[in-house]
Symmetry: C2
Subunit: 354 residues, 2 copies
């Protein structure tokens, strides 16, 4: 009953050896939650795979546990990445548990320090350089080639290996079959690629079915949708604000092999989903996560998701990761009433009891 | 493999009937995480029960799923509470899933609106009254007596019923035995009472062992420790800043029946634990949660936790719930370096590689 984490639970399906440390923060085993209200509204059977309940609050933990465990197995004492968000938090947390050090390289003056608080709490060493984000990425790649510190950015191949386990879980949680459609946000395109890898591996080993993969980019960073690099990507969904996805080719393969699609949703559609999901289903996911829900709304309307379809939407991160967007998007303007029971009761009758 | 939530999983151990709706956000089933670095440092076997991975980010979900399901079973259309924090978030999320409305009553001008963002995202109606927090509490109690809206503050008896399930999980996760000691933060004293109820019920039904209960209040709100009501409680650990605990008598019973203790930890001890836990074990818990870890440090030093003891510390909420305290407590002051590989490599060698 105590879930042992990905490396122990999926040892036979991951590139682990007897020398791989059983590193874990008990990542994975996230709930697949049925959404009754949205299902009824849309005329489909809709579930959310709530990856925000991973230990650091995002799906990145699945890949990072593998990347850090393999780094430790190889004798590394530290890991390095260029990241300003979920990747740096996951890298720092797993490095802490593994007794290693995490170094996060960022462009000077470009990153709000609050975004780094979680990684700093996990003990990460932050280095800012006089350059842009691409310079930071080039820097960590070069350093990791010359010095015994392991690069854990998305080019690390173990990241996708860990991430594919979410597909295994979805099939098991649905009783042994894939959904008709997997709806997933697309930023760097690693996760969509990892899910497709996972679905294919399970199908080979266990004769399970394959879903169609529907990937959703944000309109302002829709590189794959537009088939061109976006040099200045912009979207409210910062977790998927990427103009030149690292796993571009793998993602289009997933789309084509599964008979699915990769398209874009607007910030308006993303923010509508961001507000609808917690208000109707009690699940709070970060804006980037909600690209999947926004996409489901859009494609039901377009007719490419048939009535009655079984759809799983991947919710990549916890809404608590990005409190500022929530505060910006809602109006917190409570009604003010006297300290008088009758006045408050009347108000409740009028607004709630109707 | 898909955890069905508390009402389905523990139906036989909870006050549910065939008419109780199977409400769930897949709460419970939170990881019990072994802490190797702290265990070695302290000479004990230390685990954390990480309740921050409940759907709204705190243990409150366990009690709230029961309270809201029973409200719906009784025909209520809405729930009401006076709360500024984790309780209001949980109430709003479960009300949303149940298709009900949540009303949160707060004292005017006393609550930072950012604290309410999560509840507002879940669709809560916020009402502020010209009065203090006690007035708000009295108000919701009276209204719920006269009007068909269910009170879900801690006086609702179903809250403790739901919360006791965490004790069941700990025993199952430890392979059928309770730990020697359960260390738990004490604020309103409901949770310590619920755990003891859970341990006793499992012991009766399954002949499992009983732990000693060690409860830890914050020094500035240590009502039970000092055996007096604290009229102006003050502590950095806002989740346990309560001067007159609702479940006072139940908590002292748990202490006395288990042969345990209730004592206090200082804000300094709490903040030290708040920083140590993520940096050494990769788990980020809110300050109130860390009273349990602070207490374990204190009592190992005092000799009341013997070397080799098996100790479970309850971590009541996710660190992402309270980003401001993290930002206040850490120094985010990255080193600035030129965009030059040699300079960065030298720095890493010096600080990390040593």
């Amino acid at each position: 009953m105590n879930w042992q984490g990905l490396i122990k639970e999926y040892a036979g399906l991951l590139p682990v050896t007897e020398n791989t440390p059983a590193l874990t923060l008990h990542e994975g085993n996230t709930p697949l939650i049925y959404f009754p209200h949205l299902s009824e509204e849309l005329g489909i059977e809709l579930y959310g795979k709530y990856e925000g309940l991973n230990p650091t609050g995002s799906f990145k933990d699945r890949g990072m546990v593998m990347a850090v465990a393999k780094a430790k197995e190889a004798g590394s004492k530290s890991v390095i990445c260029a990241s300003t968000g979920n990747t740096s938090a996951a890298a720092a947390a797993y490095a802490a548990k593994a007794g290693m050090k995490a170094v996060v390289v960022i462009p000077e003056g470009k990153v709000a320090m609050g975004k780094l608080a979680q990684a700093v709490m996990y003990g990460a060493e932050i280095v800012q350089i006089a350059g842009n984000f691409d310079d930071a990425l080039t820097m960590v790649q070069h350093i990791s080639e010359k010095y015994p510190v392991t690069l854990v950015n998305s080019v690390n191949p173990y990241r996708l290996e860990g991430q594919k386990t979410a597909a295994f879980e979805i099939i098991d949680q649905l009783g042994g079959q894939a959904p008709d459609i997997l709806a997933i946000p697309v930023g760097n395109a690693g996760n969509i690629s990892a899910y497709w890898k996972g679905f294919k591996e399970y199908a080979e080993q266990k004769q399970t079915s394959l879903p169609k993969i529907y990937g959703f980019e944000a309109e302002g960073s829709a590189a794959i949708t537009k088939d061109e690099v976006i040099t200045a990507p912009e979207t409210v969904a910062t977790a998927i604000r990427i103009g030149n996805p690292a796993s571009w080719k793998l993602a289009t393969n997933a789309r084509d092999e599964s008979g699915g699609m990769i398209t874009s949703v607007t910030d308006e559609e993303i923010l509508a989903a961001f507000k609808t999901l917690p208000a109707k289903e009690g699940i709070f996911a970060e804006p980037g996560s909600c690209a999947s829900i926004a996409g489901v709304y859009q494609q039901v309307k377009a007719g490419t998701i048939a009535p009655g379809s079984k759809v799983v939407a991947v919710l990549t991160g916890n809404g608590l990761k990005d409190p500022q967007t929530a505060i910006d998007q809602i109006t917190i303007d409570p009604v003010s009433l006297p300290n008088d029971e009758e006045a408050v009761t009347d108000y409740i009758k009028k607004t709630v009891g109707k």
